[in-house]
Structures are given as structure tokens and as C-alpha cells.
Symmetry: C2
Subunit: 338 residues, 2 copies
């Protein structure tokens, strides 16, 4: 970040994403098969299927989620200034979402809808290997559109960060396009997370065009980036990213991450987690740490380290909103900055 | 490689290294402590200590070794044309070494010494975790000097590859310097492997100067390169290498390798070994695969893949000279070249 840009930005990171409440439950391996779920993926379902699966689910805990929302809440928890755009209904889950994200210190700008579909929920089945299988009813999120994207808000954010999942609905996609335009007109940065390999599969052509022409910073995990370029080796995807995007952070689970920006390439080790309970949110928290570091002016390797530390913290607990304070992670990395 | 250079080179890779016969034995963890050995390292010992340790060692198998010799034998096994310079005595182990390396298809140019110290041996204690602790009596190797470096031979090799271990003896170091000069005068490439982190520790200052000013291709593992630059993070070493050397292949065990050449950076996955019996020679075989690929004109990612495949093959057996044919590894990678 140039410091002149920084001075003009009122907030560090604005998120645009699906406002979702997660319902997290432990699940035996067998249940995944019985229910016919796509293991490890995020699958979109309708309300009826949501009710059916909920009835079969074990005791759950409700926790505000949504990939982008998780990242924004974590950036706030690490001391960054943030805002979030996402649609909820004025119902119980909608109030939970709004409460939680505001309690995390995020400016939640979107007014709840008085009618229309219910607040979105994601049924998360966590298998004994700490993998999550997600079934999402998008509900109120389907109404997110360009009119929700406040021009002044986008213009005031150093980075606008949105999730690929938005591409699953045409109006939300139009919202992304509008945000991209405002970003570019105002010299701000547009960041995208690819969300999941199945999402990449659904929107490969548009994502390729998007990362090539619109996106300033790309976040993707290994499976996503290999799916985007339809290659078998991580290194092939890396070469394509260096050509196409210029600036990206590619996460590889226990193998760490690779950060590229123009001619700079950093190979960052994963931070070994104290335990692995639930990998939900590892990518969201990596992006959070990275963007927190970036908007604080840290060097790219430190941004990657902070991302890794935040990811390690989140997989040691259930759910993707941290129970432990995250600020110390930022303080440690910032104090060691090179 | 420029094809005009390639056409003028008679051999692909010339190795200069210690000519050592390995005596490999399984060892319980406790024995390492009892004998006061530096676990995981290569330690130089004298003849008396060699006899003492040999007496305490379990049943062993003799197999020709030496880091550079292992690489050269493997390059030959993968179809490359090779030669080796190294000193043995005309004794039983010396004849074993010469037989084995010639049987591998390597032109072994050095005449055995009629007198002086015995042929070098390395007592290799393989602990149950597949780690090796090496105790080396250098014997006849100490007499390797500039007079052993045949100018025409170096000038005829596309790459001259030598091991950092040579720096442990002044005459051998002078031999390296001579080889470097001949390489540069003839537009050939000089490649170095750092050998081990303790070796780097012994010669850090000279190695830094060497990699900066003389070496065209550097091979090092993670521990070695972090020791060279005295940094705590792999990424810091990577940045230093990109500044200092330009062209390097850095191995990271199960985390794969990173290949850099000027602005090119490749992050190459390890090939999962079918089993891990003995990690002896993993680095030697990686370098072998890489150099075989490079002198065959493969792209850098393919060179890294071939290195990984060769390393995976060798750690599934005891000792660093492959029992299985290695040529198919080259043929597979070469047929898939991009």
C-alpha cells in the first residue's frame, strides 16, 4: 500500500459476502453417505432440503459464518477497521448474524429485510477427520444486489474483499461488478477469494476473466487454483497465476502458502496448529491475517505469516469465528516485521 | 542450456567428490547416544575412531557412496553421460568403489593410489526413523588435489558438480577452485551441493563467497540454506538465494522443493515414496535427477519433478545407490515434458 492511498482510506477492508449463520454439528462418516452429501464441499440446497437435513443432524451450535464474513470479523479482531455488506432477514438468525458481526467490531451496513426468504444458514457436518461438509440454504442472500453496494463505502475502503460464492446468484454477481468498478475508479484494491473448488468449477470462465482483468489480489487454495486453470500440478497453477494475476496468496494446508506479487515470490510455512478440530474457516482466516497485515503496511512475508497464524488458531476450535482473541497474533507479527 | 553449448560438451555431468564406501547398518536409537554420535549429521573421524566404531556396529553392508559419487552414478543410471574424479587407494574398498561406479556407466578417471591412507569409508548408522548418522574416515580422499582435476575433462563437461564436503581439506578445496576456473573459462556450468548443515557451518564464509561469485547452480536442503544465511525461516533463505545465486534448487523433504532461476520460481511437490527405509542419498538423487533433466534440455519444473522422483526412489531402499533401474523415471518425465 502506498501511504498516500492509505491516508485517504477510512477503513482497511470492506467485505461483500453471503450473510450466513452456520449450524455446526459433529457427524459420523457414515451419515455423510446416508444423506447423499458431497463430502468436503459446499453444496447449495433449497429450504425444504435444509429442513430435511436439519432434522437428521445431531445437536448443533449456531455461529455466525459466511466465508467473507468470517474474514472480516477476524480482521476486526486483529485490530483492523472493517465494514461488511450482506443480506439478512429481520428474523432470529438475522439478528444473531448482525449481533455477532457488530460485536466483533465490524460496521455492518446492511439493513435487514422485512420480508422475503429467511436468513441464510449453512449446515456444517464435521466428520472425525476435522473435514467439513457444508449444505447451504442461501435464503435472504439471494436478494443481495447492486443497490446494496454503497459507492461511498467502497470508495472509502483500502481493500474491497468479496467471495466467489456471490457468483452463484446473478444479482450478487452484478453487485460484485459494481464494487469492482468503484474500486478501480477510486484507485482502491479489489480482492477475491475463490471460495471452493466446486464454485470455481461452476464459474471457471468468468473467474478467469475476473482474475485477469479485475482482481488486484487473489486468494485461493491449492484445489481451487488448480481447478481454475485445470492443471494437475500446483506449480503449473502458480506459473499461470504469476502471468495472469500478478498478486496472489495461494494456500496449501499443512504445506503452507505461496505469496506472489510481480517478481516477488514467498514460500511461507504453515504454522503448526496446537490441535486440529475443524478446518472450517482456515482459508477465511488466512485471508484475514494477510489483509490485516497488508493494510497495516507489513511486508508480504509477514502478511503470509499472519495469515498462517490466524489459520492455525481457527482450526484448533469448532467454527470459523475465533473464540480466542486474535489481536495478539497481529501484535507478534507486527513486532517482528522486517 | 544453449544447444550450441550442448553440442560442444562431450559429457553431461562431471562429478568431483570424496570416493567413499559406505558401511550401512541398522542401529537402535540408544546406540547413537552410547557412542556419542552427532545424530543426523556427517562427522569426520580418524582411522582409530573408525576402527572403534566399526567394532561396535551391527552387521553391515558395503555399498559405494559419497554424496557426489551417488549423484553421478544416478545420472548415469538415468541415461546421462558422466565422469567422476575422486581418490581411492588400490585396496579392497578402493576396488569396490571403482568397480561400482564403472558398473553404473560412469567414466572413473582417477588412478588408485599405490600407497598412503586407505580408501575412505563412511559408517552409516540408520536409526528406526530412517535417519542416518554418518561417521566418515576420509582416508585416501585427503590427497585429492588440483593435480587430479583434468583440464580437458572439465572443459568437456556441460556441468561440473562438486560437493561442499571437499572444503574440509585444503588440497581438495584448491581442486574445486581450479575446476571453477576451468568451467568459467570454457563457458561451462559449475554446480555445488552444500552437503550438510554442519559442513555449511564449518565453511559459511567461504561458501557464501563461492555461491555468490562462482557457482552457477546451487543445490541445498532447507537446513543447509538456512544455515548458510543464518536465518530462521525458509522464505528468508529463499529471498537471499534469489539475490545471491540466481539459479538454485532447494529441497525440503516431504514439503518438496523450490527451484529458482532469475525471475522463474517453481514450487515442486515431493513424490510420495512407496515406503521410507533410509533417507540416505535423498539429496544426492534429487540433484542427480535435476541435472539429468537440465542437461537433457528439460524445463525447470520437469527437472524438479525428476529430482523428486529419484529422491523418492532412493529412500525406499537402504543405501544411496539404487537397486532398481532409474532410467524409467527419466523416460516418464521426459515424455511428459511441457
Amino acid at each position: 500500500m502506498q501511504s498516500d492511498t492509505k491516508n485517504r482510506a477510512d477503513i482497511d477492508v470492506l467485505g461483500i459476502g453471503n450473510a450466513i449463520v452456520d449450524v455446526v454439528s459433529q457427524a459420523e462418516e457414515a451419515l455423510i453417505g446416508e444423506l447423499g452429501l458431497e463430502r468436503g464441499a459446499m453444496t447449495l440446497i433449497d429450504e425444504a432440503r435444509s429442513e430435511e437435513l436439519y432434522a437428521r443432524m445431531g445437536p448443533g451450535r449456531e455461529v455466525s459464518g459466511g466465508s467473507c464474513g468470517n474474514s472480516i470479523a477476524a480482521i476486526a479482531a486483529m485490530g483492523g477497521s472493517t465494514a461488511f455488506i450482506g443480506r439478512v432477514k429481520d428474523d432470529q438468525l438475522g439478528r444473531i448474524f448482525a449481533h455477532d458481526i457488530r460485536a466483533a467490531g465490524v460496521a455492518f451496513a446492511s439493513a435487514p429485510a422485512a420480508d422475503g426468504p429467511a436468513t441464510a444458514r449453512c449446515l456444517v457436518f464435521v466428520t472425525p477427520d476435522a473435514q467439513r461438509t457444508m449444505q447451504t440454504y442461501l435464503g435472504a442472500c439471494v436478494d443481495l444486489g447492486p443497490e446494496d453496494v454503497d459507492e461511498a463505502l467502497v470508495a472509502s475502503a483500502e481493500v474491497t474483499y468479496f467471495e466467489g460464492y456471490l457468483y452463484d446468484k446473478p444479482a450478487a454477481k452484478a453487485a460484485c461488478r459494481k464494487a469492482a468498478e468503484i474500486c478501480h475508479e477510486n484507485g482502491r484494491l479489489l480482492a477475491l477469494t475463490m471460495s471452493d473448488p466446486f464454485c470455481v468449477d461452476r464459474w471457471r470462465g468468468e473467474f478467469r476473466e475476473l482474475v485477469k482483468n479485475e482482481v488486484d489480489i487473489l486468494f485461493a487454495n491449492e484445489a481451487e487454483i488448480m481447478s481454475l486453470y485445470q492443471v494437475d500440478e500446483f506449480d503449473e497453477a502458480l506459473q499461470a497465476v504469476r502471468q495472469d494475476v500478478g498478486f496472489a496468496a495461494l494456500t496449501r494446508g499443512p504445506k503452507g502458502s505461496v505469496v506472489v506479487k510481480d517478481q516477488e515470490v514467498h514460500v511461507i510455512d504453515a504454522v503448526p496448529p496446537s490441535r486440529v478440530l475443524d478446518t472450517t474457516g482456515a482459508g477465511d482466516l488466512y485471508a484475514a491475517g494477510f489483509l490485516r497485515g497488508l493494510t497495516a503496511g507489513l511486508d508480504l512475508a509477514s502478511c503470509g505469516h499472519l495469515g498462517s497464524a490466524a489459520a492455525a488458531a481457527i482450526i484448533g476450535q469448532y467454527g470459523a469465528r475465533s473464540i480466542e482473541p486474535l489481536l495478539p497474533l497481529y501484535e507478534v507479527v507486527a513486532s517482528q516485521r522486517r
